[in-house]
C-alpha cells in the first residue's frame, strides 16, 4: 500500500508553477508534514492527492488505496449532535453494529483526549476539541490515506499542542497521513517532512 508521486508539478492556468519536479513515495504508518509558506501550494497538493485535481505535470500512482479521507482547516461538525454521534456515524456506515460502533467510538474519543466531551454537543466544544473530533471522525472512516489541511492554523499555540499530541494516535490507526502545516510543533510530531519550497 503506497502512493507514488512521479515528477509532479502544478500551475493554475497561465500562472507560474507552484511546485515542480516533485517525486516521492508515501508509505504506510508514517505521518508526513507538508510545509511551506502560505500560498506555496500545500492545499493544492492535497487536492491532487485526493484525485479531485489533476496535476499539470507528472502523475500520481496509488497502490491499494481505496478510501481517502480529508480533514479541513475549519472543523465542520453538526452543531447540535454530540461528539460521539459524529464518530459513531462513519462506523455505522461501514456496517458495524451499533454496540460495536459505540464501543469503538469511545476508544477513539479517548485516544484523542475527548473522553470528557463524549456527550457534549459539537457547538459546545472548544476549537481544539472540535478539531480533534474531526480527526477522530476522519479516522473512524478508516481511510487508507488521510489528508489533514492545517488543523492548527485557527488555534492558539497551547490548544494546537493538544492536537499535535494526538498525531501519534493517527500513525497507529491510519496507513498514510499527510498534514499540511506551518506550525513547528506539528512538524516536530511528524515522522517525515515534505518542504514544498524545495520543489520550485
Amino acid at each position: 500500500m503506497q502512493v507514488k508521486l512521479d515528477n509532479i508539478g502544478h500551475s493554475f492556468s497561465g500562472q507560474p508553477f507552484l511546485f515542480r519536479h516533485l517525486s516521492l513515495t508515501l508509505e504506510p504508518h508514517r505521518v508526513y508534514a507538508l510545509v511551506g509558506p502560505s500560498g506555496s501550494g500545500k492545499s493544492t497538493l492535497l487536492s491532487i492527492l485526493t484525485g479531485w485535481l489533476d496535476p499539470t505535470e507528472g502523475a500520481v500512482e496509488y497502490e491499494g488505496i481505496n478510501r481517502v479521507g480529508w480533514v479541513f482547516q475549519n472543523p465542520h461538525g453538526v452543531a447540535h449532535r454530540s461528539a460521539i454521534d459524529h464518530v459513531v456515524l462513519p462506523l455505522l456506515a461501514r456496517g458495524l453494529f451499533r454496540s460495536d460502533a459505540v464501543h469503538r467510538a469511545k476508544q477513539l474519543l479517548n485516544d484523542f483526549g475527548l473522553s470528557s466531551a463524549t456527550y457534549r454537543e459539537f457547538c459546545e466544544l472548544s476549537g481544539g476539541e472540535a478539531q480533534r473530533l474531526m480527526l477522530a471522525r476522519g479516522i473512524a472512516a478508516r481511510p487508507h490515506l488521510l489528508l489533514v489541511d492545517e488543523p492548527t492554523a485557527q488555534l492558539d499555540i497551547q490548544t494546537a499542542q493538544t492536537v499535535d499530541a494526538c498525531l501519534g494516535a493517527l500513525i497507529q490507526r491510519t496507513t498514510i497521513v499527510v498534514i499540511a502545516t506551518h506550525a513547528t510543533s506539528t512538524r516536530e510530531a511528524c515522522s517525515d517532512i515534505i518542504n514544498l519550497e524545495k520543489y520550485t
Partner: protein, 355 residues
C-alpha cells in the same frame, strides 16, 4: 439500514433538520394558498347563486294560449332543470274588500310553477300571495282573504324582490290550477344552464299540424344580468387556480433551501463514508415526518375554514384544498431530492472556499 432512521430521528430531535422551520413554512404557504383560492371560488360561487336566485337562469317562452302545462311541468324531470311550470295572466285582477293599494294582479299557474316561484306552502288549499301583498293586507299562510267575489284561503307566500327581475309579480297572487290546460308562458329554472334550453321551451308550445310559424318569444325572468353566466370563465381563468403549482414550486424551493443550508454537514458526512442513497433516505424521512405533522395541521385548518366560512359544495372545496396540500407535500420532497443530488462529497472543498 435502521441506523438511517435513527440518524433521521436524532436530527429531528436535535433540531438539525430544522423541523419547526419546515413545518411552519409548509403550513403557512399551503394554508395561504388554499384560503386565497377558496375565497375566490366562494366569490364566484356567490355570484352564481345570485345569478340563479334572482331569476337570470329562469328562461321563459311566451305564446299566449298555446303553452301545454303538462309538458312544461314535466321539463323539471330533466337533469339541471330545477323547476318548471306554466303561467297565464288573469284578465280580472283580485279585488279585496279592504283596498289599501288597489287591485292585486293575478295569475293562474300550473303545479310546477310553485317550484319556480319557490313558494312557502302551508298545505291548506288556496292561493299564493307575494310577500308584499301578504304584509300589506296583514295576512299570512292559512288565513282567509276576503275578496269582493268571496273568501279565499291563503295557501302560501313567495318573495319577489326588486333585483332586476320582471315586474308584475311583486304585488300579485298565484292561483294554482291543474296542469292539464293551456297557458301563456312556460318558465324553466335551470342550473347549470343547458345549451338546448330554447329547444326545450319550444316543446311546450302546442303547434297544431306541426306549424312552426307560430309566434314564440323567449326571454329570462331577469334580463339585467346577461343571458349567459360569465362566472364559469372567471372560475377557469382565476389566477388562484394555479395555487397547486404555486405550492409545488414553493415546496421545491423549500426542500432545496433546507438541504442546501446543511450542505457542509451533509457533504462532510458523505465524506466519512455515508453513501448518497443512505443520506437521501435519511433526508426524506426527516422531511417526510415534518410534512406529515404539517399536513395534519393544514387539514385541521382547512376543515375549520371549509366548515365554518363557506356554505358551499364541500367536495369541490376539499378537492381544491387536497390538491394544494399534495402539491406542497411532494414539492418539498422533490426539492429534497434535487437539493441532495447536488451535495457530492467531492464538492466539499468548493463549499469551504465559498464560505
Amino acid at each position: 439500514m435502521s441506523w438511517v432512521a435513527l440518524e433521521a430521528k436524532e436530527n429531528l430531535v436535535s433540531g438539525t433538520s430544522k423541523p419547526l422551520h419546515l413545518v411552519m413554512m409548509f403550513v403557512a404557504f399551503t394554508v395561504i394558498a388554499t384560503i386565497v383560492d377558496l375565497m375566490i371560488v366562494q366569490d364566484i360561487t356567490n355570484e352564481a347563486y345570485k345569478y340563479r336566485d334572482s331569476g337570470a337562469s329562469t328562461f321563459t317562452v311566451t305564446s299566449p294560449g298555446r303553452v301545454n302545462g303538462e309538458v312544461c311541468d314535466q321539463l323539471s324531470k330533466l337533469p339541471s332543470i330545477i323547476a318548471s311550470g306554466a303561467i297565464r295572466i288573469e284578465e280580472e285582477p283580485l279585488e279585496t274588500i279592504v283596498l289599501p293599494r288597489g287591485p292585486i294582479a293575478s295569475y293562474v299557474v300550473s303545479e310546477g310553477a310553485l317550484g319556480v316561484f319557490d313558494v312557502e306552502d302551508s298545505g291548506q288549499v288556496g292561493l299564493f300571495l307575494s310577500s308584499t301583498v301578504a304584509s300589506t293586507l296583514g295576512v299570512s299562510s292559512g288565513y282567509p282573504l276576503l275578496l269582493k267575489t268571496g273568501t279565499a284561503q291563503v295557501q302560501g307566500t313567495y318573495h319577489w324582490p326588486s333585483d332586476g327581475r320582471r315586474p308584475g309579480f311583486d304585488y300579485a297572487a298565484l292561483i294554482p290550477i291543474p296542469s292539464q290546460s293551456l297557458f301563456d308562458e312556460c318558465w324553466v329554472k335551470a342550473w347549470p344552464i343547458p345549451e338546448n334550453i330554447q329547444i326545450l321551451l319550444r316543446l311546450t308550445v302546442n303547434a297544431p299540424n306541426g306549424d312552426m310559424q307560430i309566434k314564440t318569444d323567449y326571454s329570462q325572468v331577469n334580463t339585467t344580468l346577461g343571458t349567459q353566466f360569465t362566472g364559469y370563465t372567471k372560475l377557469h381563468q382565476r389566477v388562484t387556480q394555479h395555487a397547486p403549482s404555486f405550492t409545488l414550486i414553493l415546496g421545491i424551493i423549500n426542500g432545496i433551501v433546507l438541504v442546501w443550508a446543511r450542505r457542509l454537514e451533509l457533504a462532510s458526512v458523505q465524506h466519512v463514508g455515508v453513501s448518497w442513497p443512505a443520506q437521501l433516505w435519511q433526508l426524506i424521512i426527516e422531511h417526510g415526518i415534518c410534512l406529515l405533522v404539517g399536513s395534519s395541521i393544514v387539514l385541521a385548518i382547512d376543515a375549520v375554514v371549509i366548515n365554518h366560512l363557506l356554505p358551499m359544495d364541500m367536495d369541490t372545496l376539499w378537492e381544491i384544498a387536497a390538491r394544494v396540500l399534495l402539491c406542497g407535500f411532494f414539492g418539498v420532497l422533490l426539492g429534497t431530492v434535487i437539493g441532495s443530488h447536488r451535495i457530492k462529497a467531492n464538492n466539499l472543498s468548493r463549499y469551504f472556499k465559498a464560505r
